[in-house]
């Protein structure tokens, strides 16, 4: 009961800058607020009707100089604060390199997280301290939002669209994870925790396939793979690739159908039939699986059947990881 915090923990690099900005704006607000609050009380008391002891002469009712002063001073301050906040935001949310990537899928009413090596977690996300993390977030039904107050970051999980969010956890510990976009009956139960481990412990945890922590919801992906080994996300993707029959045409040197080379898709600029150039990213791959006719690769025909409704968000994430791994291995990895 008497655990009674007034500020959230700050457990990410980004959180430090955002907290400083928050308190500077709060400071400005307190200064301006005090001027107005105490000013109003002072004036209203001093100039009360029955007080005839005050000087009321020269009570002008307009003055361009003071109007300019109280227009321009707030305006300049506003522009400074705007620039600071926008720069900080751009630094945090613009695409960054050298990250550890996790995929997050929101659904009524749970969070499903996938690590690159195949470990899956539900309503828990385990992360290493001191490393940049990219969370790629999507929803499979309604809107959700992935919010970690201790890191001061948040991104909406939108159905049909990948959103990315970058952050660098710094302090090992357990932190709240919330859905902050109203998503139906059990919105307030769509919660979980983010566990930050020191790098070494995190690696050990990963190698043990996500075991060894008291997170009963953590499990291994890939099922009982041949050889008893565990499958990475990309390997799961390769299995899905075969299970869906994609390999009948793609990655098949003897294919009777002329198909784009998917080993070159990831990260490349793709010329379309209508002359547009698009980036070979998560969004493009997702769309090209679900609705291949939307963006036709220049020089190819629209022959592939749409997979809308036949592939789950989990499988899409696996397939993306697989296609990404193809490009990485053909260019020597990153």
């Amino acid at each position: 009961m008497w655990n009674f915090p007034l500020v959230p923990p700050t457990a990410s690099e980004e959180g430090v800058g955002i907290s400083i900005l928050y308190w500077v704006i709060t400071g400005l607000a307190v200064i301006f607020g005090s001027i107005v609050l105490f000013g109003v009380i002072y004036l209203a008391v001093r100039y009360r009707a029955d007080n005839n002891a005050v000087d009321r002469s020269n009570a002008v009712d307009s003055d361009l100089r003071v109007e300019l002063a109280w227009t321009l001073v707030p305006l300049v301050l506003a522009l400074i604060m705007f620039g600071w906040a926008a720069k900080l935001y751009a630094d945090i949310y613009a695409p960054r390199e050298g990250y550890y990537e996790v995929f997050v899928i929101g659904k009524q009413w749970m969070w499903h997280c996938q690590h690159p090596n195949g470990v899956r977690e539900n309503n828990v996300l385990t992360l290493p301290a001191g490393r940049l993390v990219k969370a790629t977030i999507i929803s499979q039904d309604v809107l959700h939002a992935f919010s970690i107050p201790a890191f001061r970051v948040k991104r909406d999980a939108v159905p049909g669209r990948y959103n990315a969010m970058y952050f660098t956890p710094t302090k090992p510990g357990e932190y709240h994870l919330f859905c902050t976009e109203y998503c139906g009956t059990k919105h307030s139960e769509m919660i979980g925790k983010v566990i930050v481990l020191p790098e070494k412990e995190f690696q050990a945890w990963l190698e043990k396939g996500g075991q060894g922590l008291a997170t009963a919801t953590t499990s291994m992906g890939g099922g009982a793979a041949a050889g008893g080994g565990t499958l990475t996300l990309a390997q799961q993707g390769e299995q899905t690739f075969k299970a869906l029959g994609c390999n009948a045409c793609h990655m098949n040197p003897n294919s009777a159908v002329k198909v784009p080379d998917i080993t070159k898709t990831w990260g490349s600029d793709i010329m379309l039939e209508d002359g547009r150039v698009v980036k070979g990213d998560e969004a493009y791959i997702r769309e090209s699986i679900l609705n291949p006719g939307a963006k036709i690769h220049k020089g190819y025909q629209n022959l592939m059947p749409p997979y809308q409704g036949q592939v789950s968000e989990e499988q899409l994430v696996q397939l993306i990881a697989y296609i990404q791994s193809l490009a990485d291995s053909s260019t020597g990895g990153n």
Binding site: D61, F82, A145, S147, V158, T180, S188
Partner: protein, 557 residues
């Protein structure tokens, strides 16, 4: 003029010259339509407040023991839909705008009296549909009706509620059109644009938003109903739609709608501060144009509701920039109001207490808006209790304080009776204290990350939530008091026999009967002075010309 039904000996007024039910329900009199609106929105305010009471009681415990999560979700939807669409948006425009606008500019009525009555019927029809939807099991979409939840997932009579909001929206459009035309075409001789009371400028700016913004949200909501009913893909990605498109269209109206709620209150504050400081509003032109600036720039900031949706970063930066800019006109108003009190003769009557309370709460609401204009902090705070606290400071602390100031200030003119001053002051204090106790803790909860629309929350936030719930009981009591004593005053309040009990300037005080004549003015007045001319108390703002003598046999022209 007055016919059969009035049998008293005094000069009849708009309330007693006809008293049948039909004379009220079929009235074209802007003053009676204002009273119709006043009675209806007061009932909706109590309903919306009741839902809020359930929300706060449920949140008194971390597990939310009072309600199930399903009922809780329906409660906050009920609270939001009723308070926004059925109370705040019509509140000051439809009640005080209707009552005062023609009186203030020296007109006999608004430009389109029939449209004015139709507006009330549209509003009531919309309200009825919303209430039917609520009583037939309720809806749980939130007042924002975000897709695809509202269009493809939510159960209940969502479409019915949407059609209700659609109709209420048209009521708002009718009011806006009426006011724009009235202000342009029906100002009395001598009532130039810069002699208009600032309340009229505020109503002009508000009407612009109502006319330009409301059609967008009306059509958008109808599209949700279309997608829900006919499964035509517009917003649901499974049907080929785009859920973010909905948010753009929704906030294109719903952010300016915030200004529909606050601008009229700002107009009221200009009137009340001036009347109770006995001084012309400082920087009249700046206050007038800041209303227009808010209305225009307010149309260009909607994307600040969507920083976390993944909208383009460059779009976000532009929206953030404009959001910082739109704060400036509000700051200009605040400073000019302070300068209005300066060297005035300040009377601490109830309307003034509410106006001073408005300044305090609106400043806190406005300044916490800066945390949300700033992109980096916005993303942390959006969809938390910080947002809830911020917009309640603006829309309850601001708009409802303005509404209550207006209600007490013009009560003698509307009813011919004075409210009890002691009770009035007590209620104003209770509302101010209760409001801060309720909503200030929510800023702290929000910064710690407590999401809005949560039915349960982690244990460590219990103390602040209990504080908030305790405050809401004080606030609730503060709101109930005026309902009781104002109703009481209708029968037992001191009868007001003078035209101008506050000694205020303005046609509605100086040239209109204690309770207005059904036709406002015997003849259209001629305005000779600027607004708020307290520096020359001996010269009234205008005069009503004497009827010309009838020359027998001569030509009248």
């Amino acid at each position: 003029m007055a016919t059969a039904t009035y049998t008293g000996t005094e000069k009849p007024n708009y309330l007693n010259w006809k008293t049948t039910v039909a004379s009220w329900l079929l009235t074209y009199d802007h003053k009676r339509i204002a009273i119709l609106y006043l009675v209806s929105i007061s009932i909706f305010f109590l309903l919306g407040g009741l839902a809020a009471a359930f929300i706060r009681l449920d949140l008194a415990t971390p597990k939310g023991d009072l309600l199930t999560s399903d009922i809780y979700n329906k409660m906050f939807t009920t609270h939001g839909v009723i308070m926004i669409f059925l109370f705040l948006i019509p509140s000051i425009p439809a009640v005080f705008g209707n009552f005062l606008l023609p009186l203030m500019i020296g007109a006999r009525d608004v430009a389109f009296p029939r449209l004015n009555l139709l507006s009330w019927y549209f509003f009531m029809a919309g309200a009825l549909l919303v209430l039917i939807a609520l009583f037939r099991g309720g809806i749980d979409t939130g007042w924002t009706f975000y897709t695809p939840y509202s269009s493809s997932f939510a159960k209940g009579e969502v479409s019915l509620a949407i059609v209700g909001v659609f109709l209420a929206g048209f009521a708002s459009i009718f009011t806006g059109i009426n006011f724009l035309v009235t202000i342009h075409k029906m100002r009395a001789p001598g009532m130039t644009w810069f002699r208009l009371p600032l309340f009229v400028w505020a109503m002009y700016a508000t009407s612009l938003i109502q006319v330009l913004g409301t059609p967008v949200v009306a059509i958008t909501l109808l599209l949700v109903a279309v997608e829900r009913t006919f499964r035509i893909g517009i917003f649901d990605p499974n049907l080929g739609g785009d859920p973010i498109l909905y948010q753009h269209l929704f906030w294109f109206y719903s952010h300016p709608a915030v200004y529909i709620m606050i601008l009229p209150a700002m107009g009221v504050i200009s009137e009340v501060l001036s009347a109770f400081s006995k001084r012309r509003v400082f920087g009249y032109h700046f206050v007038a144009f800041s209303s227009l600036a808010i209305a225009i720039i307010g149309f260009l900031v909607w994307g600040h509701h969507m920083f976390s949706t993944g909208q383009s970063m460059y779009a976000g930066i532009v929206f953030s920039f404009l959001t910082w800019i739109v704060a400036i006109p509000s700051a200009i108003k605040i400073f000019n109001w302070m300068a209005t009190i300066w060297k005035g003769r300040v009377h601490w009557d109830t309307p003034m207490l509410y106006a001073l309370g408005f300044m305090g709460l609106f400043v806190i609401g406005g300044l916490t808006g800066l945390h949300l204009a700033a992109m980096a902090t916005n993303v942390h705070l959006t969809d938390t209790y910080f947002i809830v606290a911020h917009f309640h400071y603006v829309m309850v602390g601001g708009a409802i304080m303005g509404y209550l100031a207006a209600l007490h200030f013009w009560w003698p003119k509307m009813t011919g009776r004075m409210y009890p001053e002691g009770w009035g002051k007590l209620a104003a204090m209770l509302v101010f204290v209760g409001f801060n106790l309720t909503f200030f803790p929510q800023f702290i909860l929000g910064y710690m990350g407590m999401p809005r629309r949560y039915h349960s929350y982690p244990e460590e936030w219990a103390v602040l939530n209990v504080l908030s719930t305790a405050g809401s009981s004080v606030l609730g009591f503060g709101y109930l008091l005026p309902v009781i004593y104002l109703t009481w005053s209708l029968k037992y309040g001191k009868v007001v026999t003078e035209r101008n009990p506050w000694g205020a300037r303005g046609l509605e005080w100086e040239l209109v009967d204690p309770v207005p004549d059904p036709h406002n003015f015997e003849r259209i007045p001629i305005v000779t002075r600027p607004a708020y001319d307290y520096a020359h108390p001996e010269e009234p703002t205008g005069f009503v010309p004497k009827p010309r003598p009838v020359v027998v046999g001569g030509k009248d022209g």
